[in-house]
Subunit: 240 residues, 2 copies
DNA sequence: GTCGCAAGAAACATCGGACGTCTTGCCGCT
DNA sequence: AGCGGCAAGACGTCCGATGTTTCTTGCGAC
């Protein structure tokens, strides 16, 4: 048990026991270091680790604060981890994404607001225009794809689900997918699937929404199997 | 962008680009600090953060190594995050757990080995003996509960799923659940549900296994609603 | 009395060095 | 050849000093 672990566990304990509340400011480095019985250097290592985990937030010249502890913030490092996965494990990550986003669509169908439906429609209309144009602004297509899925996840009523979907469908994941798909013109097919999902959401039909979403993501996986990434398992192979 | 972020991003980049491979040793602190253009202190903060994220592993007197990057290791910090959630968000976390473990049981039904079925049977037999005894070794019941679910998750063929189930059903989560349930004698009912799950797995019946598992976890949630935890939302309330 | 600016204090950011502790492996002894 | 001790290497920890940012406060002009 290193000094840094003392810091991490100590701060975690203080939060769990209500000694520190979300948004509250921590004691200054010197005092906290003394309280936990470590030097300032060790304290800073622990605080920094908690900062990267999204639990603390330090502001130079001000102080160190406990974050809101929102799931969206706390699950962000998970996306970081997903990015590190080799392409060999990618199918497994995407299988989870399919499960979660399927449920996400099912839940959103019952709860999504007319306003959100309008935003989604606006996005798909823009995608429609881009697809009719050449050259296509592929970057913007990816942005729209991400935004569309995000709107759905945000209306599930479950912030944990929304956070996990966000982490599993990170920018890196999307780029990895599109990288191998952009040649086939699958973006047109994908766009049609998005429209089908939106139609089910508009009808507030949970089961249809779930099926449409699952079908959409399965389609993406199929394309991936037909056109595997060049660098398969670059990170999981044996060391030379 | 702090120096520490430079370190985190730098190491992440080195891993993504294949410059560092799983199990490989990093340059010594002094050299790496110089390469990244930071002091040794800042380097240590970044390395420590990556260590807590399960990406690096430092051994005193030896060196710093890239971990295997296994999902089981990388998803462990997520359990840490789940533990920090207030009881108010607990229902949302458990809803995700229900989704994932339902799918977990469905997948495992097709793939689980006879050996694993035997281990599960052995566990449930032990639970049976404990339930007939007084006083009951409640700690051991929790251990068995965790082990039973873990066996199922391990046979889904999807390590990502297994890792996430592990994170969502951490020891802390289990204790939080059992804390409010131990009075009602629900452990007997829970045991019956476990047996039903095992029966479906033995029959290699995916849909039954999924339903039995989902039903089991819904039962736990129901009990929680009937007997809410005393300290609801201790971490999400306004600051005084 | 109020507004604005400047000086100071407070707190984190970063750095460099020194010393302790542990691991590893070489080298000499048996 | 085997064993044991010793030295080098590498991380662990601490300390002090300096830079940078933010917030506060007090003074003076309007």
């Amino acid at each position: 048990m290193s000094r840094t672990d003392d810091v991490v566990n100590g701060v975690k304990r203080m939060i769990l026991e209500g000694e520190l509340r979300p948004g509250e400011r921590l004691p200054i480095e010197k005092d906290l270091a003394e309280t936990l019985g470590v030097s300032r250097g060790s304290l800073r290592e622990g605080v920094r680790a908690l900062t990267i985990l999204g639990i603390l937030d330090t502001r130079q010249g001000d102080g160190t604060y406990v974050t809101s502890l929102d799931l969206s913030r706390l699950l962000a490092p998970m996306g970081f981890v997903v990015d590190l996965q080799g392409d060999g494990q990618f199918q497994h990550v995407h299988a989870i994404r399919r499960m979660l986003e399927g449920e996400s669509a099912r839940l959103a169908a019952s709860r999504i607001t007319d306003e959100a439906l309008g935003e989604a429609k606006t996005l798909l209309d823009e995608a429609e225009r881009i697809l009719d144009k050449t050259p296509q602004e592929h970057e913007r297509i990816i942005e729209i794809d991400i935004a569309f899925h995000r709107i759905i996840a945000a209306h599930t009523g479950n912030p944990v689900l929304a956070g996990m979907v966000e982490a599993l469908a990170s920018r890196t994941v999307r780029e990895r997918l599109w990288r191998s798909l952009r040649e086939d013109g699958v973006d047109r097919r994908t766009h049609g699937e998005h429209i089908a999902i939106l139609r089910a959401l508009r009808a507030h039909d949970p089961e249809s929404a779930r099926i449409r979403m699952t079908n959409h993501l399965l389609g993406v996986e199929d394309s991936l199997l037909d056109h595997p990434l060049e660098s398969d398992k670059p990170l999981t192979g044996p060391i030379d």
